[in-house]
């Protein structure tokens, strides 16, 4: 009997009368928030997939920190494969006195073998693909590098002992990695220019690679051969090895944003539940009337469900469109971090909107609406007849089930679902408890205030449960924004302040041992503080307790990374001030206990090393084995050269390595750095301030993206407020009419409403500020080991912002209620 046209007509009537506005808006916020993040992560994910094929710029890539024999090229060429060589290293380029850290990439003829370079004429200008590479004497620079140095295309840059002219802006290279890129800007030069820079010295942090491409069968055969014949330290990468890590990191980021948007979904769902309950109450009479006129229970049920289906479809379409617009904002905020054009999102993401709206409707709107089916028809004669009450257990089962289903759909990991659901549940309970205490705390205030405030505060207390829900909804959104906007800055400042004034701000690496004395003399001559030059030896971990590392399974990506990368070793006679011994003994001068090594705590934990274990390193082709005799804790933010592995004297003394140091340079002494690099071109200077500001830049962008997502949370909070106002509309209208009949002016009634919502806002702000402060304190103490002094601005902005936001929104929403003439209201209420 319930025909679609009839449902559409009655839905249209409800829409016209505004009955469903809050429910629709709340659902819209939920769908838009989740699809915005969904679309964005889908785009990043697809970019990763799309570029996986060219992420090596080749089909096969052989990498090594040491020179790679030419015989590989010859062999590959004889098999009909294309070959290209590249070399990369961190370096510093100068323009006048300005310097910037760069990832220097020297590329040879043929590069890239897969994918194409893109260049532009101006920084951040329109890019076009090219098949060329920089000519000798020329360089292509990243837009960010030019921006950082403040130079245009055509400028000359010093790279080591060489000067190159920037002729193009490098927009894209296939092997730059998709998703969230690395920190340094790229400067691309011709491989033929490398000798002139004099940057390559024994022990330099250089990564060399030979690229191969060709028919799949030829590549596969060559790969097998290389596997058998490659030298130690030579790493072979095929396409299938390259992408998982990038994918994993971009998936992690996407998952995090999804969970952030889930908070808005939860709040919206609460608003939907409130609106649905109100809708059901308002429609009891109508349904009773329809039953009176012959509508069956089945008809009412079908009508309800069909109505929800239509709503789901409409909101999914609108919300998904809104989400699509919103993701463009997210992509724009993160445009610097995502260094490639994002492809359009996958079609599958569009399902996310439908899943969200259906889940919320089934979990939160259906239970109260199902009540309509059970309205007794005799209600038309006796208004006090109501359907049997909702069974709350059933309602909660529906809602919690819906949330868990959505959570699982988002993260697809049962363990994570448990953790996150537990975390969210605990947070909500804690916030609700705090909100409840705040509401209770208002009671004594009622005695000391005027009539308007007393009326407002009385309303908060009377609608206790709804008040708590509203406080929590707003408090949560505000809290996260405060945490990200203010507390994060505070923590960074505290950390900065905890560093000594003269903490080193430059690292110098790649100092040749035979030039150590000359560098020291240069420091002395130019008035730089005396500095300790620490030996650094590059080596590969080959065995633990005589078991080769490739036969050991390590837990986690980091441990695997520690093993795969070349390690930096040093040796020392004494324990540094910024190191603390946790276990074992430091060696005493003169005793001969054989080769011993002291290991940093985290490194030991990751690799599962204990006192008494032996480690074997391949140091320039020679195995060096040492026994672990102590474990250390290192204060890395002393910015002194520190190492995971410190060997006892006599083990590495004769190995050719390099020297490393760090130094505090005053702004006035900076010209000395330029001269240092001119005189010792192989020395790489790393500007710690610049590095930190780059890290900070990335953090800012990421925080901005998270804040953006949490704006939806505020919008969801607004929906909860609207739903609460709507739910109390009839009550408010009647009350205001009564008050005005009793002689209260419109102004007093209005002030009462303003007082109520301002007080609600104050409480949410209070809750938000307290939450952000507690979180800041916890982060400072437990995570960063800092003293945290609470920021008064968190309280000021939280409380004032909350009061304004909620006060204004609430008054606007409830305005029409108090402006109605009382006579009309009282007549209607009869």
């Amino acid at each position: 009997m319930a025909s679609l046209p009839f449902v559409l007509r009655s839905l249209l009537r409800d829409l016209k009368s505004g009955e469903l506005a809050v429910l629709l808006l709340a659902l819209l916020v939920a769908v838009a928030s989740l699809t915005a993040v969904g679309f964005f992560t889908s785009r990043v994910g697809r970019a990763v997939t799309q570029q996986a094929g060219e992420v090596l710029a080749a089909d096969l890539r052989l990498e090594s920190p040491r020179p790679i024999a030419e015989t590989y090229d010859v062999e590959a060429a004889s098999r009909g494969l294309e070959v290209a060589r590249i070399l990369s290293m961190p370096s510093v380029v100068f323009h006048g006195e300005d310097s910037s850290l760069v990832a220097l990439r020297a590329v040879g003829k043929g590069y890239p073998l897969r994918g194409r370079l893109k260049i532009a004429d101006e920084p951040f200008g329109a890019a076009r693909p090219t098949d060329a590479i920089p000519a000798p004497g020329e360089a292509w620079a990243d837009s960010r590098l030019l921006a950082r140095l403040g130079v245009p295309v055509g400028a000359s840059l010093s790279v080591g002992a060489h000067t190159v002219k920037v002729t193009q802006v490098l927009d894209y290279r296939p092997d730059q990695g998709a998703g969230f890129g690395d920190l340094s800007a790229t400067l691309m030069i011709n491989l033929a220019d490398v000798p002139a820079t004099e940057l390559i010295q024994p022990g330099s942090r250089v990564s060399r690679a030979v690229l191969f491409a060709g028919a799949p069968a030829d590549v596969a055969a060559f790969r097998e051969q290389l596997k058998a014949t490659r030298q130690p330290g030579e790493r072979l990468q095929a396409i299938e090895d390259a992408s998982p890590q990038i994918r994993a990191s971009s998936e992690r980021a996407g998952r995090f944003l999804s969970l952030a948007s889930l908070v808005s979904v939860l709040l919206s769902a609460v608003a939907v539940a409130m609106a649905a309950r109100r809708y059901a109450t308002r429609h009891l009479d109508n349904v009773a009337l329809m039953k009176c006129m012959g509508a069956s229970q089945g008809f009412v049920l079908r009508q309800t469900v069909l109505q929800l289906v239509v709503i789901a479809v409409l909101v999914t379409l609108a919300g998904t469109a809104l989400g699509y617009l919103a993701q463009a904002g997210l992509a724009w905020l993160l445009r610097d971090l995502i260094r490639s054009d994002l492809p359009p999102p996958g079609v599958a993401t569009a399902w996310l909107g439908l899943v969200t709206s259906v889940t919320i409707l089934v979990g939160f709107a259906l239970p109260p609406l199902l009540q309509l089916k059970r309205v007794p028809p005799a209600r038309v004669l006796r208004r006090n007849l109501e359907p049997p009450p909702l069974r709350y257990a059933a309602v909660y089962v529906f809602a919690i089930g819906a949330v868990l289903a959505l959570l699982y759909w988002l993260v697809r990991d049962p363990r994570l679902v448990t953790v996150v659901a537990g975390g969210i549940g605990a947070t909500f309970v804690a916030l609700a408890l705090a909100g409840w205490l705040l509401v209770k705390g208002l009671a004594p205030l009622r005695r000391g205030v005027g009539v308007a405030w007393r009326y407002g505060l009385a309303n908060i207390a009377r609608r206790g449960r709804d008040s708590v829900v509203q406080i929590v909804a707003f408090g949560l959104g505000l809290m996260v924004l405060l945490l990200l906007a203010l507390v994060r800055d505070d923590l960074l400042r505290e950390w900065r302040a905890s560093l000594p004034e003269d903490a080193p701000n430059y690292f110098m690496i790649n100092i040749r041992p035979d030039e150590g004395d000359a560098v020291r003399a240069f420091f002395h001559e130019r008035g730089l503080p005396p500095t300790e030059l620490v030996p650094l030896v590059r080596a590969r971990l080959t065995a633990i307790n005589d078991v080769p590392v490739d036969r050991i399974r390590f837990e986690g990506d980091r441990a695997q990374g520690f093993v795969e990368r070349e390690a930096n070793l040093t040796w020392a006679r004494t324990l540094r001030d910024d190191n603390r011994l946790l276990a074992g003994q430091w060696w005493v001068d003169g005793d001969d206990g054989g080769a011993r090594v002291s290991v940093e705590k985290e490194y030991a934990e990751r690799l599962g090393l204990k006192l008494g274990d032996t480690v074997t390193y391949d140091v320039a082709g020679e195995p060096v084995t040492a026994t672990i005799t102590s474990l250390r804790e290192v204060r890395w933010d002393s910015f002194q050269p520190n190492f995971f592995m410190v060997f006892s004297p006599g083990v590495l003394d004769d190995v050719t390595g390099t020297l490393i140091t760090s130094v505090h340079v005053n702004p006035g002494q900076r010209p000395a750095l330029v001269d240092l690099v001119r005189q010792f071109p192989e020395v790489t200077i790393i500007d710690i301030d610049a590095l930190l500001s780059q890290v900070r830049d990335v953090m800012d962008k990421a925080a901005l993206a998270v804040q953006y997502v949490f704006l939806f949370t505020l919008a969801a909070g607004l929906m909860v407020l609207l739903a609460a106002v709507q739910a109390t509309r009839d009550e408010r209208r009647y009350e205001s009419a009564m008050l005005r009949t009793l002689g209260a002016s419109r102004r007093v009634v209005f002030q009462g409403v303003a007082a109520e919502f301002t007080a609600l806002g104050l409480l949410s702000g209070l809750l938000a500020a307290a939450g952000a402060t507690v979180a800041g304190y916890f982060l400072a103490r437990e995570v960063f080991n800092l003293e945290y002094s609470p920021d008064p601005w968190v309280w000021v902005i939280g409380i004032v912002g909350g009061a304004l936001l909620v006060g204004v929104a609430g008054v606007l929403a409830a305005r029409s209620v108090v402006t109605q003439p009382p006579a009309a209201t009282l007549r209607q209420a009869q």
Binding site: M290, P376, V380
Partner: protein, 223 residues
């Protein structure tokens, strides 16, 4: 004579904190096609309960109700709803119009519920008959009380019911308006040959009916 509505031994009890309360006891009556019957009694005498039971809006604790050939007491709620849809119309004291629907849409509602395709034309015709042809697009709040009740009467008659139940149809109206509404109600009743069961306090109104059933403390005192 052709009986369209019949009750036998009808009783309704409700449980309350003070024990079981009998609202209606052992009511038996038979109403013929085309008859007009007034149900009178003091407040709390059980008038509305009787109306609800006769119309199948509620279930009796004892006894049986036959309406237009169906045993309402043997049917479930949906079965009774189906009987109402085919044979019954209602007019209420407080009109019970759907506030979000226009006059026309309110009258169309029972036809739409029955899945009738000509709902619009039929509704327009009846609205013309009750003198509201010019106000079909108005919402209830834009109509006077008398006009609202005319819409309700149009809605009740649009399905051409066999039995029309009216619960204090003039109770919320002034005397003159009430008089005009009654003219309309009895006029339409005579025209369509429907049976009219009217609950009222109004002696004058009762006097216009063919028969009066008086209730006192849940029992029929004057058949």
């Amino acid at each position: 004579m052709d009986t369209v509505l019949e009750a036998a031994g009808l009783g309704k009890q409700v449980s309350s904190p003070e024990g079981t309360l009998a609202i209606l006891s052992d009511v038996s009556l038979a109403i013929s096609r085309g008859e007009t019957v007034a149900v009178m009694g003091a407040s709390g005498a059980g008038k509305s309960t009787l109306l609800a039971l006769l119309a199948g809006l509620d279930e009796p604790t004892s006894g049986r109700v036959h309406l237009a050939g169906s045993d309402l007491t043997a049917l479930d709620e949906d079965g009774r709803a189906a009987v109402r849809a085919r044979h019954v119309g209602f007019v209420f004291q407080s009109f019970h119009l759907v506030p979000s629907l226009t006059a026309l849409e309110n009258v169309m509602l029972p036809l739409e519920l029955a899945g009738r395709r000509d709902a619009r034309a039929a509704a327009l015709e009846v609205l013309g008959r009750v003198g509201l042809a010019g106000r079909v697009g108005h919402y209830p709040r834009q109509l006077s009380g008398g006009e609202q009740q005319r819409v309700a009467i149009a809605r009740a008659f649009v399905t051409r019911p066999a039995v029309l139940f009216a619960d204090e149809p003039t109770g919320n109206l002034d005397a003159a308006t009430g008089e005009r509404i009654m003219e309309l109600l009895f006029g339409l009743n005579a025209e369509t040959g429907a049976t009219l069961v009217l609950v009222t306090h109004d002696q004058a109104l009762a006097a216009r009916c063919g028969r009066v059933i008086r209730l006192d403390a849940g029992r029929v005192v004057e058949p």
